[in-house]
Symmetry: C2
Subunit: 439 residues, 2 copies
Amino acid sequence: MGADPPHRVVVVGGGFAGLNAVRRLRDAPVEVTLVDRQNFHLFQPLAYQVATGALASAEVAAPLRAVLKRQVNAGVVLATVKGFDLGAREVVLGDLPDGEPERRLAYDTLIVAAGSNYSYFGHEEWREVAPELKSIGGALTIRGRLLSAFEAAELEPDPERRRAWLTFAVVGAGPTGVEMAGQIAELARDTLRGDFRHARPEQARIVLLDGAERVLPAFPEGLSRHAARELEELGVEPLVGRTVVDVDAESVSWEEDGGPVRMPTRTVVWAAGVRASRLATLLGEAAGTEVDKAGRIAVGPDLTVAGHPEVLALGDMASVHGPDGEPLRLPGLAPVAIQQGRYAARAIATRLRGERSRPFHYLDKGNLATIGRSKAVAELRGGIHLWGLPAWLAWLTVHIYYLIGFENRLLVLLRWTFSFLTRGRGARLIGLGAKAPEP
Amino acid sequence: MGADPPHRVVVVGGGFAGLNAVRRLRDAPVEVTLVDRQNFHLFQPLAYQVATGALASAEVAAPLRAVLKRQVNAGVVLATVKGFDLGAREVVLGDLPDGEPERRLAYDTLIVAAGSNYSYFGHEEWREVAPELKSIGGALTIRGRLLSAFEAAELEPDPERRRAWLTFAVVGAGPTGVEMAGQIAELARDTLRGDFRHARPEQARIVLLDGAERVLPAFPEGLSRHAARELEELGVEPLVGRTVVDVDAESVSWEEDGGPVRMPTRTVVWAAGVRASRLATLLGEAAGTEVDKAGRIAVGPDLTVAGHPEVLALGDMASVHGPDGEPLRLPGLAPVAIQQGRYAARAIATRLRGERSRPFHYLDKGNLATIGRSKAVAELRGGIHLWGLPAWLAWLTVHIYYLIGFENRLLVLLRWTFSFLTRGRGARLIGLGAKAPEP
C-alpha cells in the first residue's frame, strides 16, 4: 500500500474553468489548492444585471469556500499570482491577506485559468471614463455612474447639458454590450419612468457602438438582424460599422463613412476588445511560449503548454491548437471554459492512472444572448434559431440552471419575477462600488 | 379658489425620521423635497447582518425614488447639505451629481433629520483601524476585514500570530455591539466551521468591551443578565466595566481593576459613543442654539428649534425638551425616529389648517435586541420580559414587518430561512466595500 505524498494540483482562478476543474477532481487521488484574488466565484454572464441594479452583487457571486466546503481534498488561498517558477514547480503569490510580501506554493500539476479583461484598443486612459463590465467592481462602478447620470439630469436646468446626461453609449456589440444596452433602455423607459420630477428618463438616448458590420457578429446573420430589431424596439440605436476613436468625460467620438462624429455623453460603458489576463503573458514567459495578439497562451490539444506536460492553461486566456497545430478558434464563452475545466480534471486523473487522454473536444450546445424582457436570440444545436419570447425563455432557463447555489437560484428567480411584474429593480444603489481591480 | 404657490417642505435625511415625515405628508397641500447624500434608505437595524455576510447590502436598502415613486407631491435631491441659511430660508447643497459646486433650495418649512454616527471618544485616528457599524459602507468594510482575518489565519504558520488573527473585539455593548459580537461568534463557529484546511475558525476568541457595568445597559437588569448568558453560550466574552484606552492595527487596550490590559487582535469593530450628525451643529450655529455633549440640537415639545417655528429637528440628532424645559432623554431607536417623523408631518398639516399641535409624545412599545440563533431579549409594554426563543421570534417578526418593500421582506426571509437551515451565509464577499462616508 502506497504511502506516497498525494499529487498536488494548484489551480489559479476560480472562474468557470478553474472551479469546474477543482470540483471534478473531487474523487481523484490529489490534493487541490485553488488560488484566487477574490474569495468568490462570479457568475459573469449576469454581471451586467448588477450594473443596472436588477440583482445584488451577492446574488451573482458564490463564496469559494462555501462551494468547496464538502470537498475535503480541496483548499482555497486568497492571493494574487505574481509569477510562475516552472523549474522549481512553484507559483509565486503576492497580496496575501496576512500582509506577507510573498509566499510560494509547490505543485505537481498546475492549472492556470485566469480569464480575460476588456482592452481599450491601446488607450488605457479610457478605462477611467469608460468602466468595463467584466468584474463585479466594474459592474458596481457602472451602476453608480448610470444612476448618478439620471440624478444629475434631474438637477440640470440647461437642456443641452441635460441631454448629455441622458445619453448613454455602450462600446462593443457582443453579447455583453447588447445585453447592457438593452438593460439601460429598460432601466430608463420602464424602471425609472415617473421617478423624477424634472428629468424624463424615458427620453434617454442609448447608442450601441461597434466597428463590426452587425450586432452579435458571432451569431448567424439572421439572428443579428432579429437582435438589431429587438434593440430598436427597446429604443437602443445600434450604430455598427463605427470604430471608437476617442472617449473623454464628456463625449465619445467615432469614425463613420461621412467622417468623424463626436457625441456628447457623460456615461460610456466598455464591453469591447477582449484581452487575456496578464497571467497568460507571465506563464508564456516562464514557459518560453509566445502569446497571440489577444494575449492568449498557446496550448496543445490536451490543453498543456509546450514542453510542460504538467502545466495546463484553460478558458479565455488560452488558445487551443488542434493535433494539426492550427488554432481551434473557440469562442470566449462560459460553456467552453466549463468543458475545459472538466476535461483538465479528467486528464489529470487519467494520467495518474498511467493512461493517455484524448484531445479536448468542444461540444457546442448553442449560443444565447438576451436583449430585454421577452427579447433574446438563440442558436441551438442542429441549426435551430429562436428569437423573441422562446429564445428568452431558453436564456432564463439556462442561466438559472448554471447559477451556482440553490439559494442564489431562488433569490435571482424571485428578483426576476418582481422585475417582470413591476418593472422595478431592487438593487439601485449608488456609491457602494469598489474600484475595479487592475487587470 | 386659491392659486397660492404650494407650501414647500424640505426634509434633510432619508432615515427613519425623514422618510416617515415625507410619506405622511402624502395628502397634505405641500410640495416636499427630500435631500439625502445616498440614493437609498438604509434599514440600519440590520446593517450588522451585512457586516457578517448574512444579507446583501441591497436587501437592507430601499432606493428612495422607488419608495416615493407614487407620491406625486414629493421629489428627491441627491446631495450633501453644506449649510443652512435660516434668514433666507434656504438649504445650501454641495457634492451634487452634476458636479456643480453649490445649489440652494428654498423652503417654507424645514425638517432636519440627519441621524448620528459613532464617535471615537475623541480619538478619530481609531476610525481607520476600527471601522464603525452605522453606514452601509462601514458594514461592507467590516465584512471584508472579518473574512480576511480568517483567510490570513489560514496562511499564518506562527501560532501566536494566528491567534491574533482569530481574535475579534467589538467595542460597545449596546444592541448593535451585542448583535455584532453574537454574529461574529456564529460566523466563526457555525458558518465557517470546516471551510478551512489549517485555521480553526471555531477556536476564534470574541470579546465584547464596554465601560458600563453590564451589557445592554438600556434594558432592565434581568434581561442584561439573560443577554450576557446567551452571549457566553455562543462563545462571546462580555468584558464589561472596561474602558478602551487605545486601538491600533495589532491590538486593543483597556483599563480594568488590575490595571491596563493589551490584547493582540487584528480586527476591532466599533459600536460605541453615539454622536449626532455634524448637521446638528451647523443647524445650531445657524439658529443660535447650543448643542449638548452628544452634539444634539435642543428642540421644544413640538420638535421645533427655538425662535424658528418653521424649522424642526428629529431623530438621533435632536434632544427633545418637554414643556417644563427639561430634556426627555428619549432613546436613539428607530421607533422614536419613526414616531417623530409622523408627528412632524401631522404638525405641519395641522399648522397649515391654522390649528395648534399638541406636544410630541413617545409611545414606548418595547425594546428588542437579538444575540443569535434563537437568542434574544425583549422588554415589552406592561413590563413583560422575554428571552430566548420567544424573544427571538418577536425580534424576527418586528424586523421583517418594518423592513421597507415587499420584495426585500421576501428576500430577507428567504436568506434567513437558508441560514437557519444550513448555518450558511450567502453574502460572504471580500473587497466590495466602499469607504464609509465622512460623518
